[in-house]
């Protein structure tokens, strides 16, 4: 199986209650309403949520089933394999591009960000979320010689092929003309995620704002400058 087939077959679920999405929601609410692209839109729940708040939404996904489901839900969803295809949209079409838990599945991340930049308006925004290789839990794991969470040594599990730290992501975004306005995290896994996460204990969410560099996930809001 190649990466595209693996990604297409991988069921990706999210919960609107997780602190990652709640924080993304408050970032989006701080922006003027416009046209929004949800990259990796799955069943279209997230895009629909923003459509009801006035956004003109579109989505892409690698799974034909998800594209069909999102279309049924009334989202302008299109098929796109980011490891092969360009974004099926025109230049500077979007005011906001949301790429939640996507970039770690891509081999050519520079090509991806170049495409995102092309489709984003000048002065438009980009929100990226991705697992943090240097989360508190992973720092301890690596220190003890244990393999980091959310990293895969072969094509299995979550199917991730890229590992990011906040430093690396910010630098790469800057290289593609995006200035990071805000960096936050979902929650800091002082206790391993296996035992406690932000759904079991929503109060943990403040730790991600306090110590974003140690958080499980990197959440960044960036603006296209060039």
């Amino acid at each position: 199986m190649d990466l595209s087939a693996y990604n297409a077959g991988h069921e990706f679920s999210y919960d609107l209650r997780e602190s990652r999405l709640r924080k993304c929601a408050s970032l989006i609410e701080s922006l003027p309403v416009g046209r929004l692209l949800d990259i990796g839109c799955t069943n279209g729940n997230w895009a629909r949520h923003w459509a009801t708040r006035g956004w003109d939404t579109a989505g892409i996904d690698i799974s034909q089933d998800y594209v069909a489901a999102a279309r049924d839900a009334g989202v302008d969803a299109r098929f796109c394999d980011l490891n092969r295809d360009s974004l099926p949209f025109g230049d500077t079409e979007f005011d906001l591009i949301f790429a939640g838990e996507v970039i770690e599945h891509l081999v050519d991340t520079d090509g991806f960000l170049a495409e995102v930049c092309r489709c984003c308006k000048r002065g438009g925004h980009l929100i990226v979320t991705t697992p943090n290789l240097a989360s508190f839990e992973n720092r301890i794991r690596l220190l003890l010689g244990v393999y980091p969470a959310w990293l895969n040594y072969n094509l299995s599990g979550s199917g991730h092929v890229r590992a990011y730290t906040p430093r690396v992501l910010k630098r790469q975004l800057l290289g593609h003309g995006f200035r990071v306005l805000r960096h936050t995290g979902n929650w800091v896994p002082f206790i391993p995620q296996y035992f406690v996460d932000d759904l079991k204990m929503p109060a943990l969410s403040f730790t991600g704002d306090l110590l974003p560099n140690l958080a499980m996930d990197i959440i960044v809001l960036a603006r296209r400058e060039k």
Binding site: D110, L143, Y147, T165
Partner: protein
């Protein structure tokens, strides 16, 4: 695209692995041991041969080398030493069909598997071109080397042009899952050798060698394996 250390690129520029370009590589005992394990007078498939800097050393040892390389420019240089060089992307699905030769005595995978999307599949495919008594010689970088542990503890996991955090690395291994990967593809590990870092040469070499042998997870810079079906 993908300026090293600046952005993470899927650069196919294998030229940078040539020791003429990155002199640092030669400081490791990796090459010497890989060559010893490959042996003399063998029919070798060198996967990821770059400019052929290893092929040249193997040809000097009377081996006949066929190369596979993703970068056409590097492959052109490797043709100086190799009998044949295939320009192929191992992340492509059926790359093995383009290799018409078979019955190689040795397949050398020197720091290649970490660049692949699905290393287990590639190991499995390679079995088709191995002779009955053929074997693999594999080298993989160690993600939990003490330097990387300290870097990540400080929040730094910065990709660079070469080394453990090379920006074209998709996969990272500890000793445990390096073994798992090889064994899951149906091979038995016959030999293992931990190499140690390059900057610590001179008087301290025996100490580093001892540390790498006794605690490979912490002190090995690379893991070298010989494996058979």
């Amino acid at each position: 695209m993908g300026v090293a250390g600046d952005t993470i690129g899927y650069s196919k520029g294998s030229l940078r692995y040539d020791p003429e370009g990155v002199a640092q590589c030669v400081a490791f005992d990796r090459n010497r041991i890989l060559l010893d394990w490959v042996g003399n007078g063998k029919r070798v498939l060198e996967v990821g041969c770059s400019t052929g800097f290893m092929s040249r050393l193997m040809v000097e040892r009377n081996c006949i080398v066929t190369g596979i390389e993703v970068d056409a420019e590097a492959a052109q240089r490797a043709r100086r030493y190799c009998e044949k060089v295939h320009v192929l992307d191992l992340n492509g699905f059926d790359w093995i069909k383009d290799i018409h030769e078979n019955a190689f005595d040795v397949v050398l995978l020197g720091d290649v598997l970490e660049h692949l999307v699905d290393p287990a599949r590639v190991l499995d495919q390679i079995d088709d071109v191995l002779s009955t008594n053929g074997y693999l010689v594999i080298s993989l970088p160690n993600i939990v080397h003490w330097e990387t542990r300290l870097k990540v503890l400080m929040g730094k996991f910065d990709y660079q042009a070469w080394g453990t955090l090379d920006h074209t690395h998709l996969r990272f291994f500890t000793l445990t899952n390096a073994r798992e990967l090889i064994e899951s593809a149906g091979y038995r590990i016959i030999r293992f050798h931990p190499t140690f870092g390059g900057r610590m040469s001179g008087y301290a070499r025996p100490v580093w060698r001892l540390l790498a042998r006794s605690m490979p997870g912490l002190f090995a810079y690379q893991f070298l394996f010989e494996a058979r079906k």
